[in-house]
Amino acid sequence: MEVRDSSILSFDSLEIGYGSRNRKRILLPPLSATANRGELVAVIGRNGVGKSTLLRSLIGLQPFYGGNIIINNENLSDIPRLELARRIGYISTEIIRVSNMTVYDLVALGRFPHTNWIGRIDNKSNEAIANAISKTGMSKLERRYIVELSDGERQRVMIARVLAQDADIMVMDEPTAFLDLPGKYEIVNLIRNLARSGKTIIFSTHDINVALKLTDRIWLILKDRLIEGSPDELLKNGSLESMFESSESGADIKDYLKYFL
C-alpha cells in the first residue's frame, strides 16, 4: 500500500526496545509502517515479539532508539506532552481498580489534556464526557462504580475515556483480551463503528479472524521485519504463513489459512 497524504501516523526505521542508554536492548531491526486517517489497523505477531513495546513507543510512553515517528506530519519528539495527549489515546491491558470511582469519574479523567489547573469540568468537557459515554453505550451505567462493572463494561469505559480525550488516534493493546465471546463482539463492534466515524484505531490482537475480516490494514510483526498490507494482500502473498514459521505445525497452516480466503 502506498503512503497517502491521509497518513495520520507513520514511523520510519524505528528501533524499539527497552533499557537505559548504556544497557539498551533493541528488540527488532528498524521498522516502518503507516496508518491512514479513519483506518482500523490490527497489529499481529507472536507473543513477546514486541507489539506492546511498539504501541507504547508510538504514544510516547517508551523511548525509542532510532528512526522517527510522525504524527499529523509532525515528529513525535517535537509534540508537547499535552498536545500529544489531545491527539492520541491509549488503552493497555492493565485492569484499573479504584474504589469510589464512578463511570462518569473515570471518563472525566480523559479530559485531562483539556481542563484547567484543577481539572474543573466545564460545560464543554461535560458534553464531551456525555457523548463519549453514550457512544460506548454506557449511559445507563453512568453512576455505577467501576469496581462493579463486568470486564466488557469496564473496557468500554476505558474506550469512552479515550473518546472524551478527543483523540483522533486510539492505540489499544489487546483490547479483547480477558473478554468472553459476547464481550469480544461488543468491543470489536464498537471500535469498528468508531473507525467508521473517522477515528484511526491501532490495536494489537491475537484474534486472526478479526484481523483478517474486519480491519483495513495489518501490521504483521515478525522477528526480523514488519510486513504491512491489507488483509487480502497479506493472504495472497503468503506473508501470514511466515508468522507460523518456527512452529511445528507448519504443514497444516495452509489448510488453516484457507478458511480466510
Binding site: 474504589s99 469510589n100 464512578t102 480523559g110
Partner: protein
C-alpha cells in the same frame, strides 16, 4: 443530552465540609479549654483577649495555644502527605514515612542524642538545645529525600521505588537500633522519649517555621490535585493523558518530604494519622477525587490530631500520655477496619 456533573447521591458535599469546619474550630477551642491544670472556660477566653500577665494567661498563651496550633498543622501535614503517598503508590497502607523520611530524621536525632556517648560533646551541644535536634532531624530527612529522588530518576517502575523506600527505612532503623544498643540508660531514655512524639515543645520561632513549611506543603498539594487524580489510574495511563510523570514524582516526593520531614523534625515521628485519615475522608465523602480529598484531609487531619492531643493530656489528671500511643490507638483500628471491610472486594484503594 444534558447529563449533570456527577453528584454523590444523597450526600451533600458542601454540607459535610461546613460541618467539618465547625468541628475543627470546636475541637481547637476544646483543646485550649482542657488540660492538666483546671482552668475555667471563661478564664481561657479572658486570657486570650486581654493582656493581664497572669499565670493563667501564661499557661493558655504559652503552653496551650502553641500546642493546639501545632496539633492542627501536624494533623494536616501528616494527612496530606499520607494521601499523596497512597495515591502515587496506589497502596492503601502507604503513609508519610514510607519513603524513609522519618527514619532519616530519626537517624539524625539518634546521632545527636545517642552518638556522642561521652557526655562531653552532648553538654557542649546543650547550649543549642532544641534547635540542634530540629536541624539534625531535617538533615536526615533531607538526605533521604535526595536519595529517593536519585533512585526515582533511575527507575521506571514505581513499585520498585516503594520497596526500596521501605528497605531504606528499615535499614536506617537498624542502624539506630545498633546505636541504642551501645548507649547508656539516660541517653536511651532521652531518645525513646523523642520517638514517642511531642506536640507541646515548640517555641514561637519553631512554630513559625512549622506553620510556614506546612503551608508550603498545603499550597503544593492543592496545585497537585489534577495530577493526583490522573495518577489514580497509574503512571502509564496518566502519562498517556498528558501528565509529566517524572516531574510529578518529584513534586509529590518533595511535598511529602517537606510535610513529613517538618513534622518529624519538630515533633518526632508521629504515626498512624497519615495512614488512617485519608481513608476516613474517602469513606465520608465516598469519592476518589482529590479536589475533595485534599481539603477533606486538611480538615479531618486537623480534627483527628487535635482530638488525639486532648486525649493525651488526660484532662484533669496531672500525668500525660505520649502522643504516639494515642494516635496508634486511633489509627490501628481504622487500618484493621479498612482491611477487613475490603477483603471481599479486593479493592482497598
Amino acid at each position: 443530552m444534558s447529563i449533570k456533573k456527577n453528584d454523590l447521591p444523597g450526600r451533600s458535599k458542601p454540607l459535610i465540609f461546613i460541618i467539618m469546619g465547625f468541628l475543627l474550630v470546636l475541637i481547637f477551642i476544646l483543646d485550649l479549654f482542657l488540660g492538666s491544670v483546671n482552668i475555667r472556660p471563661a478564664e481561657v477566653i479572658r486570657a486570650i483577649f486581654r493582656d493581664t500577665g497572669s499565670d493563667i494567661e501564661t499557661i493558655v498563651m504559652q503552653f496551650r495555644l502553641p500546642k493546639a496550633i501545632t496539633s492542627v498543622f501536624v494533623g494536616i501535614a501528616l494527612s496530606l502527605s499520607g494521601l499523596q503517598m497512597q495515591t502515587i503508590f496506589r497502596n492503601p497502607l502507604a503513609g508519610p514515612y514510607i519513603l524513609g523520611v522519618s527514619s532519616g530524621a530519626s537517624l539524625g536525632v539518634a546521632i545527636v542524642i545517642l552518638g556522642f556517648s561521652s557526655g562531653l560533646v552532648l553538654s557542649g551541644l546543650q547550649g543549642f538545645g532544641n534547635w540542634i535536634l530540629v536541624i539534625s532531624a531535617w538533615a536526615g530527612a533531607g538526605a533521604v529525600m535526595m536519595l529517593i529522588m536519585f533512585i526515582s530518576s533511575r527507575l521506571r517502575d514505581i513499585m520498585t521505588i516503594l520497596i526500596l523506600g521501605i528497605m531504606l527505612a528499615s535499614g536506617l532503623t537498624a542502624i539506630v537500633s545498633i546505636m541504642q544498643y551501645f548507649s547508656s540508660e539516660s541517653m536511651l531514655k532521652a531518645y525513646v522519649i523523642w520517638t514517642m512524639g511531642s506536640l507541646g515543645n515548640l517555641s514561637s520561632g519553631q512554630l513559625n517555621v512549622l506553620v510556614i513549611s506546612v503551608s508550603t506543603g498545603i499550597f503544593i498539594s492543592i496545585l497537585s490535585i489534577k495530577r493526583l487524580n490522573a495518577l489514580l489510574l497509574g503512571e502509564n495511563y496518566a502519562g498517556s493523558m498528558g501528565l509529566n510523570v517524572k516531574a510529578s514524582r518529584t513534586i509529590v516526593f518533595v511535598c511529602t518530604s517537606i510535610l513529613a520531614g517538618s513534622v518529624t523534625a519538630f515533633c518526632g515521628p508521629i504515626g498512624f494519622i497519615g495512614i488512617a485519615v485519608p481513608h476516613i475522608v474517602r469513606n465520608i465523602f465516598k469519592t476518589s477525587d482529590h479536589a475533595i480529598l485534599v481539603p477533606g484531609s486538611i480538615l479531618a487531619g486537623g480534627i483527628v490530631m487535635t482530638a488525639s492531643d486532648i486525649v493525651s493530656q488526660l484532662p484533669g489528671s496531672e500525668s500525660v500520655l505520649p502522643i504516639n500511643s494515642v494516635t496508634s490507638l486511633i489509627g490501628i483500628p481504622v487500618v484493621i477496619w479498612i482491611i477487613l471491610r475490603n477483603r471481599n472486594n479486593s479493592v482497598l484503594f
